[in-house]
């Protein structure tokens, strides 16, 4: 009988999450007692995120590779990298939030609540056990629901209601799948479960459980045909929360799928799981782009285009048909970074040009080049990256994914994937360039000129992501090399 002890060294391994936890407690109390201003809480939250970011970077540099809590939580290079990406994304989202006029009931909570949500996402990355995974997932979902529901307009609450029901149902499916796996193996640890599962004995049961798990995570990622909620919820949220949903939540769900597939699903039923995912990805690639053509409300547009990018992010996972190799992991991480840069930038652009009290609409970019030419240039950089045109991070991300898909899979599957990606890219020109057209060729919109230039936080986020995209587009090699080296031993082990 082992006794449960949590040593200080264990907490050090969980440092990024611990810092977030401490930070959220302190900030909440400070918000209650000090009647401090809105912005200072926001900046406090940013400081907390930076602290966690520093911790994650230190872990990465020291090559921490350890498990705590009997193996339920693992800190390795891949997790640390994912956490860094998530944290950077969350910093961007917070920057947007600080730079956006308040449209919610809340004051300080608008910032502090991002932290537990992010904590859920980060735990999800490190979790190697189903209970932890479930709790982390719900921590993320419930915090996000509250963030959405705090919007003053009624549609925010409606969106929150939708997400509660949908999140509940998809969690139920996930749990139902897990319960069968537990019934077959008597454990909830990924690794032990993978070693105990016996396809010879309960093949059909296990397959059903696998499909349920994949489908429920696909709902969280909002892959077609489970995508309808994402549009409504995205449109109901305020701009920074929509950004959080489309970047952090989505990325966390994709990492979860990746983790679960590699650790539990692929060793036993790679063919079935890959087939299911293949169909989902193909359908998503086509449908998402076509749906996006019809959207004029920006939040809906980016909710849908996010689905297409998510499908693209899943291509390296299924490209090989078995456990993905180092290349696939590296390419995945590269595109994840690119995705964060371009989407955070896009939402920063939306927030900058948005008039409070309305739904963000593509007309809000009208004539931007006349009142803020440099901002328009930055937005063009972001759009280029989104559309996958050079010189941008998105271009090389797509190139690498295509290379991977075609070199890994012989036969038609790789070609089908590649062709769909390319077709989707062409369609995406049409709706991404709609923004460019508005900026350059339409007379000015209703927003008074001063508002764009003076929002320093959102401007910083926009420029950070635009320059980051362009820099990664000019010199993608060093990041690829760095990522490949960092995760090489994680993948091999």
């Amino acid at each position: 009988m082992t006794t449960i002890t949590l040593r200080l060294s264990d907490l050090v391994i969980m440092a990024p999450e611990c810092i977030l936890l401490l930070g959220v407690v302190v900030l909440t109390l400070a918000d209650l007692w000090m009647k401090s201003s809105r912005t200072s809480i926001g900046i406090g939250a940013l400081v907390v995120l930076c602290g966690a970011l520093a911790a994650a970077v230190v872990q990465l540099v020291q090559e921490t590779d350890a498990t705590v809590l009997f193996g339920a939580y693992e800190a390795d290079a891949f997790s640390s990298l994912c956490k860094i990406v998530l944290l950077l994304a969350a910093c961007g989202v917070l920057g947007i939030a600080i730079g956006t006029p308040n449209e919610t009931h809340a004051v300080g909570e608008m910032y502090t609540l991002y932290i537990p949500a992010l904590m859920g996402a980060m735990l999800l990355v490190s979790s190697r056990e189903w209970m932890t995974t479930y709790v982390a997932l719900e921590l993320l979902t419930i915090s996000t629901i509250v963030l959405i529901g705090m919007r003053r307009a009624a549609i925010g609450k409606e969106a929150a209601m939708k997400l509660i029901v949908l999140g509940g149902v998809s969690s139920a499916f996930l749990l139902y799948g897990i319960s069968f796996l537990y019934g077959c193996t008597g454990t909830t640890y990924y690794e032990v479960m993978a070693s105990r599962l016996d396809m010879g004995q309960d093949a059909s049961l296990i397959t059903i459980a696998f499909v349920m798990i994949v489908a429920s995570i696909a709902v969280k990622i909002a892959l077609v045909p489970f995508h309808a909620w994402a549009l409504d919820v995205g449109a109901g949220a305020v701009v920074p929360v929509a950004a959080f949903l489309s970047v952090v939540s989505k990325l966390a769900a994709i990492i979860l799928l990746w983790r679960v597939c590699v650790d539990v699903l692929f060793p036993h039923a790679a063919d079935v799981v890959v087939d299911v995912l293949f169909v989902l990805v193909c359908v998503s690639l086509v449908v998402a782009h076509v749906l996006a053509l019809r959207q004029v409300t920006l939040l809906r547009l980016f909710a849908v285009s996010g689905i297409a990018h998510a499908a693209l992010l899943l291509v390296p996972l299924i490209a090989s048909g078995t456990r993905p190799d180092v290349d696939a992991w590296t390419i995945w991480l590269y595109y994840a970074v690119a995705y964060v840069l371009m989407n955070v930038g896009a939402f920063a652009a939306i927030s900058l040009t948005h008039t409070t009290g309305t739904q963000p609409h593509v007309h809000q970019f009208a004539g931007l080049v006349y009142r803020a030419p440099w901002t328009a240039v930055a937005i063009v950089c972001i759009v280029l990256s989104l559309a996958g045109l050079p010189v941008s991070a998105g271009f090389f991300g797509k190139l690498f994914i295509l290379l991977d898909a075609l070199s890994q899979r012989e036969g038609t599957a790789g070609i089908v994937l590649a062709a769909l990606i390319v077709v989707g890219t062409v369609i995406s020109f049409a709706y991404y360039f709609r923004i460019v057209r508005q900026m350059f060729w339409r007379p000015e919109g209703p927003v008074p000129p001063s508002s764009v230039r003076t929002r320093w936080f959102a401007q910083t986020v926009l420029w950070g992501s635009a320059l980051g995209s362009v820099a990664l587009g000019c010199a993608p090699g060093w990041l690829m090399e760095l990522l490949a080296q960092l995760i090489a031993h994680t993948v091999v082990s």
Binding site: T330, A418, A419, T425, R437, W441
Partner: protein, 506 residues
């Protein structure tokens, strides 16, 4: 060598930093800076008379994990093949920069975008790496989209959208083809590792030698046609040309100069470099079909040009017809054909620069490009009319001007293989005299207009004289160009002729 890429790019940066309120400064710096790449190119041309090429080969993007390596080198080279294109691009971009003086607004945007476009165009012509080539190729898309959409007539936005859609499809196909090509033929042995096959490079030279060593299979055919389709949109070849008419009809002449003068040439350049040189076996099977396509393009262009009412559309269809000649020369794949095609490309670039500059001058005076409402401009505008005349005569292939040499070489090159087709193509040369003279005579002669029309200013006259001089020099003394391209042409056609020889022996 890198100055070629750096100079225009720097210019774009510098111009972007000048406040647009200083209109005069923007225009002066813009025009002067557009001429600097020309000076650089001329410098390179004069220095590199012997055919020794400038090459830079440096690692750019590379990562290695386990046994897998992916290398995307920075491989740029200015050899006999790319030299004529680079010279052409430099001249045309400078001319377009001067033509930018005729715009009425937004000079800053024009010059910034034009210089960016120049950088990308140079990049396309010197890249010897598949990914790098594709990158520059795509890069031309964005400034061109803005240029078309921001300046021009009422329908310019639609033209820009159509441009984006067609070329977007083209680049998507190209994207797929590039990736397939790398995966299929880019494998190389990394020094120090025993296994090969999992490591990829996008270096053009490596891919070419790999392909040459490989047995012919279905993938080659697929790749050939993918590349062909991508570049056929750009060139354009007959059923894929509609976007180009819109651009010619709606965009400002200063932009059409670049578009018709250089961007179409990228299609020919890419087609030759990727489809025809890399896959000679496929070309051999498809050559006759492609020749038919080329002749259809020639004839359709010529016939349609006769029926147009707008000067710009006449010239647009004339371009289509001339691009058909280029295609015909390239598929003939012998010394004369390829030399002729290269010559035709350069000459057509110059001719359309001259013609559209003249159109720009006329349009700024008369506000129209409708043939019916123009006429009798010879009297008030003798200089512009003379230039229009020279351009038209060169375009219809008058001996002594550059248009003749290219078409003649192409026809000679194609005659051995397809006699009937060549005769038909020759017939269309007659048609070209019809439509060109109809337009030009209509504009130049006739009753002089009521209103006063001022003739060209010095700044307008200078580039026109320069281009016209180039056309005459090329026509009278073609060796200027031939000496540069001769060696390159030999290497291009060598694998194909070898193949034909072997096939003939059996």
């Amino acid at each position: 060598m890198h100055a070629l890429l750096a100079v225009p790019f720097l210019g774009a940066l510098v111009l972007a930093c000048i406040p647009s309120a200083h209109m005069r400064a923007v225009r002066v710096v813009g025009v002067l800076w557009c001429c600097v790449p020309l000076a650089v190119a001329i410098g390179l041309f004069v220095q590199d008379d012997t055919g020794v090429s400038y090459t830079v080969h440096a690692p750019w993007i590379a990562w290695t994990v386990g046994g897998t390596a992916v290398h995307i080198p920075w491989h740029v080279s200015l050899d006999g093949f790319s030299m004529p294109f680079v010279m052409l691009a430099a001249i045309v971009c400078a001319v377009s920069g001067v033509a930018g003086f005729l715009l009425t607004k937004r000079w800053k945007a024009f010059y910034v975008l034009l210089l960016l476009l120049t950088t990308a165009v140079f990049g396309v012509f010197v890249a010897r790496d598949v990914v790098l080539f594709f990158l520059f190729f795509e890069l031309t898309l964005v400034p061109m989209f803005f240029l078309i959409g921001m300046f021009g007539k009422y329908g310019r936005e639609r033209a820009a959208n159509v441009f984006l859609v067609y070329n977007g499809i083209g680049s998507a196909v190209l994207f797929l083809a590039v990736v397939l090509l790398i995966v299929h033929a880019g494998s190389f042995a990394v020094v120090g590792t025993p296994t090969m096959g999992n490591s990829f490079t996008s270096d053009y030279a490596v891919i070419a030698s790999n392909l040459a060593a490989m047995p012919h299979d279905g993938m080659h055919t697929v790749l050939f046609w993918l590349f062909f389709l991508a570049f056929a949109i750009k060139l354009p070849v007959f059923p894929l040309h509609t976007w180009m008419l819109r651009v010619h009809g709606e965009a400002h002449p200063a932009i059409v100069i670049v578009h018709s003068g250089v961007l179409l040439k990228m299609g020919a350049f890419g087609m030759l470099m990727f489809s025809f040189v890399l896959f000679p076996e496929v070309l051999r099977g498809a050559a006759s079909a492609l020749a038919v396509g080329a002749v259809v393009t020639i004839v359709v262009g010529a016939v349609m040009a006769c029926a147009q009412k707008d000067v710009r559309l006449v010239f647009a269809y004339a371009s289509l017809s001339h691009m058909g000649f280029v295609l015909l020369g390239m598929v003939a794949m012998n010394d004369n054909g390829v030399q002729g095609a290269l010559f035709q490309l350069v000459s057509h670039g110059l001719i359309s620069a001259l013609l559209f500059f003249a159109v720009a001058v006329i349009e700024t005076r008369t506000q129209t490009s409708d043939i019916a409402s123009l006429g009798g401009l010879g009297q008030p505008m003798p200089f512009a009319s003379a230039m229009l005349m020279i351009g038209a005569l060169a375009a219809l292939g008058l001996p002594g001007l550059s248009g003749f040499v290219g078409e003649w070489l192409v026809l000679v090159g194609a005659y051995d293989q397809w006699r009937t087709l060549t005769v038909i193509a020759t017939g269309s040369v007659v048609l070209s005299a019809v439509y060109m003279l109809r337009v030009v005579l209509g504009i130049v002669f006739g009753p002089p207009p009521q209103k006063h029309r001022a003739d060209v200013r010095t700044i307008e006259a200078f580039p026109m004289v320069f281009v016209a001089a180039c056309i005459v020099v090329l026509g009278v003394y073609p060796s200027v160009l031939h000496d540069v391209t001769r060696e390159a042409t030999k290497t291009i056609v060598a694998p194909y002729e070898q193949l034909v020889d072997v096939g003939g022996g059996v």
